[in-house]
């Protein structure tokens, strides 16, 4: 898998996680925030010059 493909998958995962986080379900909330931070973190390492959302923007 190329770097670009990995980034694309991560961005899809991020969008899915953001959707789940917006539900504010207490059963998900803590863990989904951890997943969000991990995805954003990984994207900034793999794609340091691209646009990626700051956490305050997607909460």
């Amino acid at each position: 898998m190329t770097n670009a493909e990995i980034i694309k998958h991560l961005q899809e995962m991020l969008a899915t996680a953001q959707g789940l986080a917006s539900q504010r379900d207490p059963a998900l909330e803590g863990d989904i925030q951890i997943i969000l931070t991990i995805l954003v973190d990984k994207l900034r390492y793999l794609d340091p010059t691209n646009e990626y959302a700051h956490q305050v923007e997607y909460e």
Partner: protein, 462 residues
């Protein structure tokens, strides 16, 4: 390389990324914090007109005193807090105490995750991989270093063993010999102590720890001869990191070339410029120093979310080495390995930050005491020792009262600054008095590190 997009990027790409990220971070702090809005406005700083990273210099430097004053005005986190309190998932305090207060840093999930990643990335550069046994000897507390070390290990997938609570003999015999680690995180002084104890116990590190890929050190400067000797004795390479609470984890880390470069000279620590803007400033002129010169490290967090800092003066003295100095080719600027020191009187003892002012406050709270002098050293067994001589005001104070006071003070110091000190009485009038700059402390650890290596014999002699 774990992240080629960063490690193989051009300097131009890195600087473009910094500028982009800095613009967002400045907008973020301006819109989220009264503290920064006031500072920007007072300086007439138009953050939305940022043209290059150097424009940051339109802002005044931020000091520890500024942060503490802000915390007093807006307790407990200060007006610089940029998130609502329900987003805080951990609190970090500057280790030890300056005698004037501890800085408080609110950490969000993002701050914690990002800090852990910087460590994980560095462990990878040191040669550690998923499943490698990693021993952490730093005690976990409210300071940032040990937490980052643990979180990074967890993120890397290392098989982590935090062994700080155990005595050194147990660490060696029960844990290191049994689990045969691939990596150890230690302070230089503690590594010396481990080395001496190995010799006393008849343990040859070369033979007993064949899996060791890296010994990771931080918090203290050291002679290069010491580093060379340690690499020989332990038959592995030393890697250094420089970190501080204000940077939210790891500020600079050595790369694959270790603390000693190919020429046998001191190596480089790569500044984590993807996460932070660093300036190395001449304290007199405020100008950026030239390559090879020493200056004060000033930092601006690019991602920190809870308690970000903009142009914070670290009081750390570093030697600036520009990108391209290191043969690894990474685009980041560097600082020299093994020589980070302080401009103020703060001492790092057993991974704790100790300010003489804090010790002064505890000692001179006792009106019976006239003067004191402290000495930090490494003893013949490689242990860091703190000895404090106390001079009483009156020669007539009963022996029993003096003994009791020393015992009480010893406990107060241990609790107050977090480090045990050996107290003794000095003869009346024997200690130096200071008319101008008070210098009650001497640090003889570098000499101690050298001495331990030269006097230790037996198993490790080449």
């Amino acid at each position: 390389m774990l992240y080629p997009a960063q490690d193989q990027a051009s300097r131009e790409t890195l600087e473009k990324s910094q500028l982009d990220r800095l613009s967002k971070q400045l907008e973020y702090v301006y819109s989220s914090s009264d503290f920064y809005r006031q500072r920007f406005d007072d300086a007439g700083f138009q953050h939305n007109e940022l043209k290059n990273v150097g424009d940051l210099r339109q802002l005044p430097l931020l000091t520890k005193e500024d942060l503490l004053a802000d915390q007093i005005k807006h307790p407990p986190y200060g007006g610089r807090l940029c998130v609502s309190e329900d987003k805080i998932t951990m609190l970090i305090l500057t280790s030890g105490t300056s005698g004037i207060g501890q800085e408080a840093y609110a950490m969000t999930r993002q701050d914690i995750t990002f800090g852990g990643s910087a460590w994980a990335n560095w462990y990878y550069r040191c040669g550690l991989r998923k499943g490698d046994q990693l021993l952490l000897t730093w005690p976990l507390g409210t300071n940032s270093g040990p937490q980052g070390a643990f979180l990074g290990a967890y993120k890397l997938g290392a098989n982590t063993l935090p062994i700080a609570p155990y005595d050194t003999k147990s660490k060696l015999e029960t844990y290191m010999q049994k689990f045969n680690p691939a990596g150890i995180v230690v302070t230089p002084a503690y590594l010396s102590h481990l080395t001496v104890l190995c010799e006393e116990l008849g343990i040859d590190p070369k033979a007993q720890f064949p899996n060791l890929k890296a010994i990771m050190i931080a918090t203290e400067a050291y002679p290069i001869s010491w580093a060379q000797r340690m690499e020989t004795i332990w038959n592995t390479r030393l890697f250094e990191l420089y970190g501080n609470t204000q940077q939210s984890g790891l500020a600079a880390g050595g790369c694959e070339t270790s603390v000693i470069n190919e020429k046998g000279e001191r190596g480089c620590l790569h500044l984590d410029e993807w996460n932070t803007v660093f300036e190395v400033l001449d304290r007199e002129t405020g100008e950026h120093v030239s390559p090879g010169e020493e200056g004060e490290l000033v930092l601006t967090n690019l991602f920190r979310e809870g308690s970000p800092l903009i142009r914070f003066r670290t009081s750390d003295r570093v030697r600036f080495l520009p990108h391209g100095t290191c043969s690894c080719g990474r685009p980041t600027n560097c600082i020299e390995a093994g020589t980070v020191a302080r401009y103020d009187d703060m001492m790092k003892i057993r991974a704790q930050n100790i300010w003489p002012e804090a010790v002064d406050a505890l000692i001179f709270a006792h009106p019976e005491i006239e003067e004191y002098q402290g000495r930090v050293s490494v003893n013949h067994r490689g242990r860091e020792e703190v000895e404090v001589e106390i001079e009483f005001k009156s020669e007539d104070l009963p022996e029993e009262a003096k003994t009791k006071l020393l015992q009480t003070l010893s406990e107060e110091l241990r609790h107050g600054v977090g480090v045990s000190m050996e107290l003794s009485e000095a003869a009346h009038g024997s200690l130096e008095r200071f008319e101008f700059k008070t210098r009650r402390w001497t640090d003889e650890r570098n000499t101690g590190l050298e001495r331990v290596l030269h006097t230790s014999g037996g198993a490790h002699k080449e």
